[in-house]
Symmetry: C2
Subunit: 347 residues, 2 copies
Amino acid sequence: MLHSIGTWITRRALVAAMVAASCVLAGPPPSAAQPDPLPSWNEGPAKTAIIALVTQTTEKGGPRFVEPAQRIAVFDQDGTTWVEHPVYSQALFALDRVAALAPRHPKWKRTEPFKSILAGDFAAIARFSEKEWLEIVAVTHAGMSTADFEKLVREWLPNSKNPVLKRPVTELVYQPMLEVMAYLRANGFKTYIVTGGGQEFVRPYSDAVYGIPAEQVVGSSIVTKYEYRDGKPILMRQPKLFFNDDFDGKAIGINTFIGKRPLIAFGNSDGDRQMLEWTTAGEGARLGLLVLHDDPEREFAYGPANGLPDTKVGTFSPSLMDEAKARGWSVISMKNDWSRIFPGPKP
Amino acid sequence: MLHSIGTWITRRALVAAMVAASCVLAGPPPSAAQPDPLPSWNEGPAKTAIIALVTQTTEKGGPRFVEPAQRIAVFDQDGTTWVEHPVYSQALFALDRVAALAPRHPKWKRTEPFKSILAGDFAAIARFSEKEWLEIVAVTHAGMSTADFEKLVREWLPNSKNPVLKRPVTELVYQPMLEVMAYLRANGFKTYIVTGGGQEFVRPYSDAVYGIPAEQVVGSSIVTKYEYRDGKPILMRQPKLFFNDDFDGKAIGINTFIGKRPLIAFGNSDGDRQMLEWTTAGEGARLGLLVLHDDPEREFAYGPANGLPDTKVGTFSPSLMDEAKARGWSVISMKNDWSRIFPGPKP
């Protein structure tokens, strides 16, 4: 449990471009000729595979037609629909919360793990133990009602800042993925976020950013306790993991929260392996895709698959690459497959 | 945990009239004058309250208007949308499974708890301990894949039989509730089952019976384990409770699975208390309703509220009745408020 809590908070988190909402909501533009539903995707095997999956499963009378009720699409978040480097956005939130709370806790200046956070000592932060992360979770994610937590997240989002790209986390969503979501929904698919990050961290912005309502966000969660305040019920967040929606937890989470096997799944790291296995093991047309971060000029480069630099944040291992090849999953090269990374004017 | 498993299997379960599906899907009939959206409801405070809630929250520009995305309606199942007496349908399923498996387990004839089940000794069954129910759950609900369990449920449904009403459990759904569901959906509400029963027990029939897709069924669940069979992943059901969606668990389940506070909640027993509290504590127009089983001629009579006979199956306690009055929840008298109980020709 301790391990899981630490993994959860260190591995995971939030947010993407509010500016993208208009694109999400607009869907593909009307046109006489068949418009390109994925304009930010270069022609290539990944784009072809996505369009083929949608075409086959929506062709009435076709051999691979699937009823709309069964058209489920799942998206990992961190590293798949938005930036996860150098650290998960939810970890940024936790660190910012510690800084915000520090004036009320003068002792933190002299006590770990808070001392290192307040000193901005990222090297020390990287070495935090599970016990230390649990302490951080306890003060930043628990000990408050669900309503209070949601308020904190909403207030933090516009002030958030990726430490390398120097932009709010909400602006660092991937335009090609917004296009895929809109394309799938226009074809009767129900789109879900299935994240190792905190479900209650993602829900406050998922609709505005991805066009995905709160009830279609499946994520990790902590235990909540039903209590009364002034005769009214509240749910108090406890410093204890309830569900770890990562690795095998993603397949379990899909089954528990959705109860239907997806037709298409997007991921980017070893934590998405079982989600893609579970998705593509279904009968009929299924598709698994993995984003490979091989674009240090426009975003980041990490693997260690394909000889890219190793990382503990969003690891894409050689064994995952081997499995992708063996099972016929598509690998999306950020560098080659995406003509544009972020919403807004083309750079 | 043992207690919870026992409570779960003894208190809870499944199924309602396939014959009702046409009604559910058809929705209110088109007509020049305003047709009655709830024809099986007699005029009275409960019907008036439901129509007022829908009218207020859907009136564009009105003071209590609610965006469609926030229009969530939740329904308890056992005793609220279908018959739960004399025992929960899921317990019937478990007992039938023991009988079906008995030939492969000759020792069961001499070993409790199976001996009593095979002898049809309902008095002994009523005295089963938590440990004995756990043994029953282990052989009837666990030790198999999720796919195999779903197959068992689907095969059992048409052969199921309520021991008193002598009809398949799927025919014992309440017509007035099907009408409410259709009415709410026609007004932009998303309808959910929020049941103490097993989520994977309800999902195989929820769409056909209630028009509610699998992903809108929130219920109790057991732990599943991700394994491989012939290189393909399966989820194996473990004899261990994961989530008990009852009492405070219903409020927690709504928050965890849906992430939005309902506008309207229907229940019938003490297990629904927190669901109604959570729902009606929200701002704006909210409504909680409780079905009172006071109709021994057409269905059953139990409370012990209002001096009705006591029961351990779907208890409606005097304290719940007191709270309903104090908080302004509507109590639905099955006898007075419903002109018809089950689908099909009016009796």
